[in-house]
Symmetry: C2
């Protein structure tokens, strides 16, 4: 085996009630990557299409993640990486995580899978560190493992795969304005009132229970963010209108995807998801701001090897 | 039916990872109460044994809870309450909640159960307000409903009953020093760093998952308190030694029960619970501080009507 072609999925992190710890893997949006062995040791990014991201390995999230991985495995050959970047950086749906995860999963595959998927997370986190200055695994974990994940700890890595309720669908609207994760972090208060925090964690506990119970009513009540959303939503045009219309159309919770500007809604069934998607479109069409929307199943298995050659 | 005799259980709140929202109902410790109809309207506390608490209705947690309940139902008779107080006030195992809950459940029973158990919570919270100045339902909810409860919201009341893992037992050591809930709240910072908070809620999410999965290993990892325990444990003699010895003896998590001074440990099976209980005793016997210890099953149904007459 000389190379692999793979799909590395976009992800929704935070999910309103799990800031920095919850994430959900998407089926229909993601980067495509091709990774091939090269005689020369090291990592080489030889093609990037779709979006403008740096070719320089040390400045590219896939580059630094791959370097960290081969530093620990030291194979006597190198890797060329081609990236078809479908997820815009700074969109809030795990653009950097997709690239980092795709790179380390691809290289691991070409080396005969010396690492289990979960063991690759620390390497992919090198990309997150480069992209946003912090090593949260809330996008990386679902991109690698699929499904809905809870990052209990990053040091050491401890990820819980949560059950996926039947018929759960995700809707995303991505307003094409860029919010850098690092900037979206700056608007947050470094400290939060204990009283608000305890309401927040009660909702996270309830959300986890709702997944096990397949209880959409409880899920809806628990997808609440009284801490981060009031700050970050100010950076997102028409956020309140999106949330209102999602709610009016039977959304199972609507909030900021990652650090924004993308906004997500969960839905019980494809029909409802499509209605919410159309209502999102209608609101943004009036703004003149370019945008894209997506309706997606939950991706149960994470990054996919499409072919090996 | 003219009267009821009932058992109102002690409870462990917080459980380290669910400050102000998680609670667990105990089987072997609790107050006994007798409530009888009286011709004269109103609430009358006619006997208190075991511990010294006020007879004056407006100063007694059972009194104010009962008054709130009959204010809303307005029966044309009153109630006499006799309390055999087995749970010391300020012990950290839900002493006030037990009295409040016992009173409202007993009166509700004598009135033909116009309210469902969950609907009684707001009335019992009047007692909590009197006892500690805040209306947290983390003791009241498990005392009324039994089992392990998560208070998602108090306004409106929304309680989730979580699954109870097989063979789960609780160990309690109650050092007989009094820490008032209000005082234990004063040592806490009003704000907490966001970074610590997100670790905290990750553990609560993991704890909820561990209950559904019957996963003791995960439960043990998630019963962690990086926010409250470092502050409050300073008020509890030998806390670090208790925690260490619990850990050495296969504890599934050890922490402060409620606002202390009681310390709890969970255990997988009665044998381990007894070993932890003995190790707690050994440590406290050397201090000269009076104490009691308890080993308890999880009480699955909450307050129990023992007899009606």
């Amino acid at each position: 085996m000389n190379g692999v072609r793979l799909f590395s999925p976009a992800t929704i992190s935070n999910l309103s009630c799990g800031f920095d710890v919850l994430g959900l893997c998407l089926e229909t949006i993601g980067d495509y990557m091709e990774i091939t062995k090269s005689k020369k040791k090291g990592i080489y990014i030889t093609s990037i299409i779709g979006e403008k991201v740096p070719y320089e390995v040390k400045k590219n999230v896939a580059g630094v993640s791959s370097e960290a991985l081969i530093d620990s495995l030291n194979p006597d050959f190198g890797f060329e990486i081609k990236i078809d970047k479908k997820i815009k950086p700074g969109s809030g749906i795990g653009s950097s995580a997709a690239s980092s995860v795709g790179a380390v999963v691809g290289i691991n595959h070409l080396l005969g899978n010396p690492f289990k998927p979960e063991e690759l997370i620390p390497y992919a986190l090198e990309g997150e560190k480069l992209a946003c200055g912090s090593e949260h695994a809330d996008n990386v974990a679902p991109a690698i493992l699929g499904g809905i994940t809870l990052v209990r700890s990053t040091k050491p890595i401890d990820i819980i795969k949560l059950p996926i309720p039947k018929n759960l669908k995700a809707v995303i609207i991505h307003p094409k304005i860029e919010i850098k994760t690092a900037d979206a972090r700056k608007v947050l208060d470094k400290s939060i009132p204990l009283e608000k925090a305890s309401q927040y964690w009660a909702n996270l506990g309830a959300f986890v229970s709702s997944l096990y119970e397949n209880n959409y009513e409880l899920m809806k009540k628990s997808i609440v963010d009284n801490i981060i959303e009031p700050k970050r939503s100010q950076l997102i045009p028409m956020f309140d209108s999106l949330k209102q219309i999602a709610n009016d159309n039977d959304s199972i919770g609507c909030g900021i995807s990652g650090s924004g500007p993308s906004v997500f809604s969960l839905a019980n069934g494809l029909k409802t998801a499509k209605i919410i998607n159309n209502s999102f479109k209608k609101i943004y069409e009036e703004t003149g701001i370019p945008f894209e929307t997506y309706v997606s199943d939950i991706n149960k298995s994470g990054v996919k090897i499409l072919s090996a050659f």
